[in-house]
Symmetry: C2
Subunit: 347 residues, 2 copies
């Protein structure tokens, strides 16, 4: 029983992508784990520059690179034939291949035999570890903060990473815990919770944030939304298994309905907070909301600031847009709520 674990450092493969928007995973790796990324490699025609040194696979080996991360999406989700020479060469050189493509890496004969000859590992970040346990509900040591959402794709991963960064900056002992494939690549470990069989979802969430030091915070990436008609069960299992002390509600300003489920109105902040507390109390009676994180990209700077102020007064909690203004206000709320200022002063 373990989470997926990647071998660092990395070389990021961007294929033949010509627009950064197709290399989101690579960009995320560089934004959040720059020091783990030794270099980048693309194919002929690929023009995306992640700002990393261009590197051959042999140079990567010389630099001690452990894994090649497929940092770009492919049309249809399969492994394009044009990628195979590079991926196969990397595997032959003993570099692990890490991907989140729909086709399993190990289903490809060339990659499988190259990897088995060199001992390289083919890591599909969409595939959960085997033999996951059933959730026990037992209280674990350490603190946990979970991102929850009014919907999917509202910035839960980004918020968790920004919180980890800003908590560390404030001197707190914090680690991002990844529950989705891109998050796993960034964190170097994790479990793709939505791919876990439902009997084991809360058990997988327990594994994701194990016992830790009393002053340690797991900052857990959320999934789906508790009012989501398709993915609510994932959110439910992640919530009860994470047994969070605190949570942040993530939202996109202007979104009115569940994206792709147009018959379903988005829940209000109050509804998400009340429901999350009601369900979360099963495994952590002290669960509380410490703020909201709102993607305000549709608004001007001035509108965004006013919108966040308004939401903040209504909730009586800090509301931030971590991309625009950082997540410090939520960190301040955490320090205040859990009386951590003394601790920080002493530390």
């Amino acid at each position: 029983m373990r989470t997926i674990e990647l071998k660092a450092p990395y070389i990021i493969f961007t294929g033949a992508a010509t627009e950064a928007t197709y290399a989101k995973t690579g960009l995320g790796m560089v934004e959040w784990r720059r020091n783990q990324c030794k270099g980048q490699i693309s194919l002929n025609g690929g023009t995306v520059d992640l700002g990393l040194p261009d590197m051959t696979l042999q140079q990567a080996v010389d630099e001690g690179v452990g894994s090649l991360i497929i940092g770009t999406a492919s049309v249809g989700g399969a492994i394009p034939d044009s990628w195979l020479d590079t991926l196969e060469e990397a595997a032959k050189l003993g570099i692990d291949i890490v991907g989140g493509v729909h086709t399993r890496l190990s289903d490809n004969d060339r990659l499988r035999s190259a990897a088995s000859a060199s001992g390289a590992v083919l890591v599909d970040v969409r595939v959960p570890p085997e033999n996951l346990p059933v959730g026990t509900g037992k209280k674990r040591t350490g603190k946990r903060i979970l991102m929850v959402g009014t919907d999917c794709a509202v910035g839960k991963k980004y918020t968790a990473l920004a919180l980890e960064r800003d908590m560390k900056t404030a001197g707190l002992n914090a680690d991002f815990r990844a529950s989705g494939q891109t998050g796993i690549m960034i964190a170097g470990k994790g479990i793709p919770i939505d791919a876990v069989v439902s009997d084991f979802v809360s058990g997988a969430a327990e594994l994701l944030s194990p016992d830790n030091d009393e002053d340690h915070w797991d900052v857990i990436e959320g999934q789906g939304g508790i009012f989501h008609p398709g993915y609510g069960a994932v959110s439910f299992g992640l919530l009860t298994g994470s047994q969070p002390d605190a949570f942040v509600v993530c939202h996109e300003a202007g979104r009115t309905h569940i994206e792709g489920w147009s018959e379903f109105k988005l829940p209000t902040f109050a509804e998400v907070i009340d429901r999350t507390i009601a369900i979360g109390q099963l495994t952590n009676p002290a669960i509380r909301c410490v703020g909201a994180s709102i993607n305000t990209s549709a608004l001007s700077d001035k509108e965004a600031a006013a919108y966040l102020d308004r939401q903040s007064s209504q909730l009586g909690l800090p509301c931030v847009d971590p991309v625009r203004f950082g997540a410090e206000n939520i960190v301040a709320e955490i320090i205040d709520s859990y009386d951590l200022s003394t601790h920080l002063a002493v530390g």
Copy 2:
């Protein structure tokens, strides 16, 4: 996208079991689907009598039997070698083999090649169908009633089957819908919801109770419990995907804690009802509780009647023990709540 479907009628295999308690599945088949069971077959040493005609496999073929149902448990959950001659012969004769054992039937070389030669199908009722959809949350036609529980193993399947029987007796148009392996064998179809990947749980539940006639009731077997620290996510996805109009809370008299999770107190009826309504309203705003079904086997007849009376006054809803006293009181509540008496009188 389809549910598991079995080929009726059946011959029930009880192996070398000498005690009925090891042949619970077989007993359930006979109790609830006697007319689908043509015969029984056991091994040397097996003494369990399901009350069916003893039958050779050749006789089963002559009687038009479609499937052999493994109606007994095995130690450790694997297929004992001693079963193989019989199962292989059945498969050679073109009889489908249906099992809920931990080892997949199709992982056994002898069974796989016998089946592939004859065209027989090896059906693992623990394995969900492939390519299940994500839940849409869209309203479906027809009515649905879901069993929910204060815990696992409190009689949800039995209650659903008793309700189906008593609803039919009352002239209602009702069908049991199976969400677990034994239920699937009894119903001849269904989906093992707890084995479905969490992203698709509510979608699988939607598939389980598709559009139907306006006067038709799906009587849906429940799973887990919404306050269960291990299996709550399964219950959540089944609830939102089932979009039930009505639900019955199932409970065992005297149980005080979640079985196997001794740190968790059992929720009260009121807690289960409130939480089920809160969550269920996402996909069916009209959801309501129509009664409780309580396993009173630990009580005397007199105590049981008094207990059910007391619970019934407290809830203001019928409380029944379907094993002892039938489920008619809940059927009466359904007829009353949904104004079906006119319909029945006309029909």
